[in-house]
Amino acid sequence: MNRILTNLLLTLIAALALPITASAQGTRLNLDFPDMAAKASETVDVTLDGAMLRLAGRFLSSNDPDERAAREMINGLAGIYVRSYEFDHEGEYDKSQAERIRQQLGPTWKKIVKVASRTREDVDIYADTRGDAITGLLIISAEPKEFTVVNIVGPVDLEKLAALEGQFGIPHIHRDGKHKHGKDDRND
């Protein structure tokens, strides 16, 4: 009887502790799009959890500036998940898939950037914020022939991420702090 009670107590503690741990590390979103993968002409599917990130980090070169920057970037992250699908023709994928991802965002997620284009690329960037800290990032990019989702789980330093762009040979664009759409918009 005591054993049963102990097991129940441990289960209860574990059940309570799990969301606390998850909340501290941000949220991993469900990025499964089986229909899209089947239709796409090219697919990028990257799933790197904490252990794989640490393993990857050990293989990053200290001599390569890109990889050195990447190592700094992943420090403390719990996961990076990328799904990118390229299609042969326009309109070949269901754009409502983006909405399916947005529906997973809880109240701690805030939209920080929205780029809307009728002809080119729509990009939405959401941050999972706990106080002043960003504990997760979601990027949804929808192009006529390409759909990309990036989910970074863990404390994301946007400055480092921005610096990474310049580091990767991409021109660094100075941000003056304003966003194209309301910074405090949430889940829309």
Binding site: V46, L48, K178, H179
Partner: protein, 97 residues
């Protein structure tokens, strides 16, 4: 004088007994008898096999880990390139706004 006689007798050339050379040669041709026991030989074989097996397994695991690490590194760089490219699009739009 007796000593001289004794020495002369002792050192006198004598023919080898019949068949002596054959016996010597036959002994030379015979392989040495291994005196290690069967148990020792089996134990040594087991130890050697285990050592070689362990070494091979270690090398296989190390090789797989290296492959896995390399793949993880490539995937990480791909993921960060994609993420940074999308950030660039957003930042350009913000900068032009």
């Amino acid at each position: 004088m007796n000593l001289d006689d004794d020495l002369t007798r002792a050192l006198a050339r004598k023919s080898a007994p019949d068949g002596f050379a054959d016996r010597v040669l036959s002994r030379l041709d015979t392989p040495k008898t291994h005196r290690t026991s069967l148990f020792t030989r089996i134990a040594a074989a087991i130890v050697l096999t285990a050592a070689l097996g362990g070494l091979t397994a270690h090398q296989i695991i190390e090789h797989r880990r290296n492959e896995e690490g390399e793949r993880a590194r490539r995937e990480l760089m791909t993921a960060l390139h994609i993420a940074s490219a999308k950030m660039r699009v957003a930042q350009r739009a913000v900068a032009h706004d």
